[in-house]
Amino acid sequence: MSDPSSNSDGTNTFPAATIKSISKVSAEFRSRVWWLTLLCVLISLGLFWAAYQGKGEMIIIDFSDSFGLKPEDRLKFHGVEIGAVEKIELNGLRDGVSVHVRLTHQARSMAAEGARFWIVRPVLSLDSIQGLDTILGAKYLAIDPAPSGAKPASRFQGLDTPPIVTPPEGSLEITLDANTRGGLENNAPILYRGFRIGSVVQVGFATDARTVQARCAIAPEYRDLVRRNSKFWNRSGWRLDVGLTGIKLDADTLSQMITGGIEVATPTDADRNVSTGHRFKLYDKAEPEWSNWQPSLAHGEAWHRIALKMPQPIRLAVRWQERSFGFRKNQQRLGWCLPLDDGRILCLQEQIAAPASAIADSLLVELAGLSLPASKLTIPTSVPAVTGGTRPATASRFSIADSLPAEVTRWPVGLLGAKLPSEVCDVFLAHPDAANVLAIDAARITIQESGWQIDDLLMIDRDYHGIPVVSAATSQVIGLLNIAKNGRFIVTLE
């Protein structure tokens, strides 16, 4: 067998392969600068990627008028930019404009079904100036976001005017019935002693058009000022009285002349709180005595914080017999006491002691359905067994032989203030019925030797004798109310 590389005459006819340098091209272009090239390519790609990554979703909002909105104006929520207008065009029907808005990523969930959009533009009225920042600056879109969990949407119908402000959570919503509109506008204030506590949400006809109804919202912190027997009257516009003595113009503020206002007053003997949906009649004018009502109503944040953990005092009556002209005569003193969780009961000392004139052993203490003779009471020895004289009233704690019914709530001893604070503070008189809790402002209290004295002008029923006094600041029971002949005092617990 012959060698395949050789033919018959023995000469080699295969062509010689061309020899090429392996790294001819690469040697020519070998340079460290190519690393720089790679870096630049990556930067370029990165910039493009970042530019398109940052773009959020596009939504379209239809408006009847663009009100001067331009491309690149912003969509803001609470003043924060969450999108930008990309273009504005006439819609297909030529009856409005379509605004294309590019949202940022985090704003995507806001633009779902139920979201409302409007164009913020300057509104000048005598009542208020709105959108002042848009007079010189750019107009912008505002959004009232959709409730969470709503279905995503990409096309919306914009509002021509800002939406009616939804009252904050916890507001008291009530309806007022009036015969005429009387100048009432949406957003008109509701005033208590001239102080704004809420506003009219919407004014409209009743379904049968017999009356005008105003839906109102009272701010959460003032909802306790409105009671079942509160009176509402219209303070809209102004009243001009021309008489022999001159001309009298009756109007509170300029803004009230324009938008109208509703005044509310609560009687001194305030009824229970109302719940949302309550209806009141809206009077055309106030009765003269309404302006004299001066209830002490617990309200505001401090009250809300401790309203649910107020002490629950129970009634306490002490009865005894006295001899008068040879007859036995029944005497009694009514008041309140506070059961404590250590088994003892806190009350004023005079509620468990008889005066010196009482017939011996005739003392009877009644509380929580129990009737206890003096022998069944365990009274600390430091407390004198008789009352009277000029000695200042004190508080005392006693225990009873029988046990109190289980349903009686007991106040923790830890929440008793040892003594009155060195400075006067706002206090509540803790009546067990929440509607009857009285708030006493620090300004109505003066410090006396025998305790804190409450301003005589304040109306406090005699029925409050012995009621626990709770500090608004610490929500501790700091004393007991003593209604004496020479004034109303807050008595320290010591």
Partner: protein, 194 residues
């Protein structure tokens, strides 16, 4: 081999060089030749030119500046700015910027890539390209635009608010890369075959 000095033009006779030697001008002391000079130059030029080319689209298409004045926003790229100028009727200014900041720089970069890397043309043709590139390069003024941005920022900073966009980085890098590429380029490489 006869070679003229780049700097002063004096013609020298350059003998063949060893790997660790280099020829310098007798009059002005500038470098005339170096072994494998054209090779390294070609690679570097090509790398820098390709880098500049890669950055060019990002530099002209992405937003380069965002101006905010009293709540009015305006964001613009170089191409967008030229379109805006054209639409507002400043035809001459738009054309000048289009030509000197967009078209000519692009031609220069492409010419550099061609001369240093692609080698697709005949030698004579490449010489022609090189001549044209020398002429055009004088009119390609991308770097001037960076200066214009700086001046604008300083002069207007009290009146309006500036935000620079992502294209600024690309633009600055693109300018430096095309300059580096032009510096690296050795015209002798066109005629000298290795």
């Amino acid at each position: 081999m006869l070679k003229s000095c780049h700097c002063c033009g004096l013609i020298h006779h350059v003998p063949p060089l060893n790997a660790d030697e280099r020829a310098v001008c007798t009059r002005c002391d500038s470098l005339i030749d170096q072994p494998k000079n054209h090779r390294t130059s070609q690679g570097r030029t090509a790398a820098a030119a390709v880098a500049a080319m890669a950055l060019f689209p990002a530099a002209v298409l992405l937003p380069i500046i965002e101006i905010e004045k009293l709540g009015h926003h305006h964001r613009s790229s170089i191409v967008g700015g030229i379109v805006d100028l054209y639409q507002s009727g400043s035809l001459l200014v738009a054309t000048v910027i289009l030509l000197f900041s967009l078209v000519l720089p692009l031609i220069k970069i492409l010419a550099l890539i061609e001369l240093s890397w692609l080698c697709s043309m005949h030698q004579r043709h490449r010489a022609w390209t090189y001549r044209w590139m020398e002429q055009i390069g004088k009119w390609s003024m991308m770097d001037v635009m960076l200066l214009a941005l700086l001046v604008m920022m300083i002069k207007l900073s009290g009146l309006v608010q500036f935000h620079f966009g992502p294209a600024l980085i690309a633009f600055a890098l693109c300018v430096s890369m095309s300059m580096l590429s032009a510096i690296f380029f050795d015209p002798h490489a066109i005629w000298e075959n290795p």
